[in-house]
Symmetry: C2
Subunit: 360 residues, 2 copies
């Protein structure tokens, strides 16, 4: 069994196909300069050996200049119009799209038009029709699309998947995952933020954070749900257009089930557990950044807790993207992978509306 | 907040109304001498200051005699026929019914007929009709019925409930609970055991162990589910009549949801988590006996793990029953409480069959 690998060299990048020392860095244009791009993405890009944040694109030229002053690698800033016109295309190889979900398609289409690869924040779009279109325009233009999931390169999740793949839990039987936070109280008090706008976001807690347990369940099981049921609810006026809380059940092929819970109005929590015939793997905390990870393992009569080193999840994700572009190897969370999540989440909403199970 | 109470005097019996030193011990007739009665119930009764195992009732007179030899307090043994005929009724005050679920009603009816109180193992019967009848005959006879749940007097669960009641988690948002074991591989290899017989058991993993997270969710929330959805499945031939694995979702009043998972073919696991607007309480391991308990608490930015002393859960349960009989105080898990679980579990099966939500 792979226990040794979980304890030793936990953070090895087993996904690397190219050498960071010799691979040409990927020059990234960051589209959208909200707090996540400024506080998470740009610092990770600046820190990366495989990427460089060379271009910043924002609705506000002044804001773009201000942010650019903080990052040495930035060569130029663009307004959205300038970006759409193809100005400065020689300064970047790929784009990182971090805008409200409903703008992903348009920004990706521009990138595709200019022959630039796309790393697109999750969920890939606000609905599955637009998500399909996004993938279609990129396919037609021959550019790569990756959906920006942090979990596939998070070492704790990767080691958990290795253990599961190696048979540590036996046959998986059930997955439980959850992610919750106080969005308005702890993250962003603005009741007019785009995450609460159905047109811009597509959904509420499920689209924003429920996606983590859902997508990580898919990754750990290496399978996609075939049917879903769910319940959504809101207690706060700000959540009149999108759900505050969601609970959903997923049926996977072979009878494996998953239960996911997400809430924008519950104390921060995040975990994912896979129970199998022989053992169990649990990660907690699982999904938020900047937290020490713990992998809880049990099999037969033995039980262990493994602390896993903290990494910059965004840097891992960007480096994976760059490695894939430079090596030409398949991207695991490609555009189609991202579309499946949107389809599953739409099915959860339909299931919640109709009070029934819905096939995906 | 009650954190101090969780750390100090964890195992205090806050439910006691009478003094064990002065209360007359309750003389118990144990009905059914399977491994659980022999290995768990009788040692706990023998150890108790509040109860005495004075009578043993079994289908086999020889087995009853053999078991009686191990417990000093036993005054006499009875066959089921002798028990039904009312022989030896002066030697016991109450019965503890630990037989296949489908026999609970008949044994309870005999007890009621003789004016004896009933402590009946969970689930209270194999279906809600028989469960209602059981409660009815006891009510008519004026005898008490308690459903034998270990969790209401398990100190870890009790301290968790105190915290929740005192507002530690804020408003509860969601509960997740699970219980799994390898029934055939680790507990009892007999494919003909009554737990796998639909006529005798009423259901599979849900009736036997899924009941723990389900009932404990009810206890911790102090509420009953209003609607359920679920999925059942089996992979092993022995589980052709009852389900091997179940996943269910429960809707409680006020929008609180619970997700429960139980399997007779997954590595042993047991936990229950209540996430609220302000904090989270998790017990793990939660439901199996003879394990050290851990209460995981988080609220705001603080987080604590509290080890809770191990108690003999069966002794706590028996002593609670005896205290209630002697004090006349209300029994929390009374017969009606047990009927609700059977109704909820039947609704889960119906929901799984019909692929829809079912109101309870």
């Amino acid at each position: 069994m792979q226990i040794q690998a979980v304890i030793g060299s936990q953070c090895r990048r087993d996904w690397e196909h190219t050498d960071a020392a010799t691979a040409e860095p990927v020059r990234i244009a960051a589209i959208g300069l909200g707090w996540y791009t400024r506080g998470r993405a740009l610092p990770a890009l600046a820190d990366s050996d495989r990427c460089e944040p060379t271009v910043l694109v924002s609705g506000s030229a002044e804001k773009a200049e201000r942010v650019a002053a903080e990052f040495e690698a930035v060569e130029r800033t663009l307004t959205y119009d300038e970006y759409a016109e193809g100005i400065g295309t020689d300064a970047y190889d790929a784009v990182y799209v971090c805008t409200p979900n409903a703008f992903h398609l348009d920004h990706a289409a521009v990138a595709a038009d200019h022959g630039k690869h796309v790393l697109c924040e999750k969920p890939i779009e606000r609905d599955s029709g637009r998500a399909e279109n996004l993938v279609g325009v990129c396919d037609d233009a021959g550019v790569e699309v990756m959906t920006a999931y942090r979990m596939h390169t998070e070492p704790t999740v990767r080691r958990a998947k290795e253990l599961i793949d190696a048979g540590y839990v036996g046959d998986p039987v059930a997955v439980r995952g959850d992610m919750s936070q106080r969005l308005l109280k702890r993250v962003n008090p603005d009741p007019d933020q785009w995450r609460l706008n159905a047109e811009l976001a597509g959904g509420g807690a499920l689209f924003d954070i429920g996606l983590y347990p859902l997508n990580t369940a898919r990754f750990l099981l290496d399978a996609d749900p075939v049917a879903v049921a769910g319940t959504t609810g809101s207690t706060h006026d700000a959540f009149d257009a999108v759900e505050e809380t969601v609970t959903c059940s997923l049926r996977f092929p072979g009878g494996v089930t998953a239960a996911c819970f997400a809430s924008h109005n519950a104390r921060q929590s995040s975990s994912i557990t896979v129970t199998g015939t022989e053992g169990q793997v649990r990660i907690e905390p699982a999904f938020f950044q900047d937290q020490d990870r713990k992998l809880e393992l049990s099999r037969g009569d033995s039980r262990a807790e493994v602390a896993v080193e903290r990494v910059d999840q965004m840097r891992e994700e960007f480096d994976y993207f760059a490695d894939r572009l430079r090596s030409g190897a398949d991207i695991y969370p490609d555009g189609r992978h991202g579309v499946v999540d949107v389809e599953v989440m739409e099915a959860v909403y339909e299931a919640a509306d109709r009070d029934t199970w819905v096939e995906v």
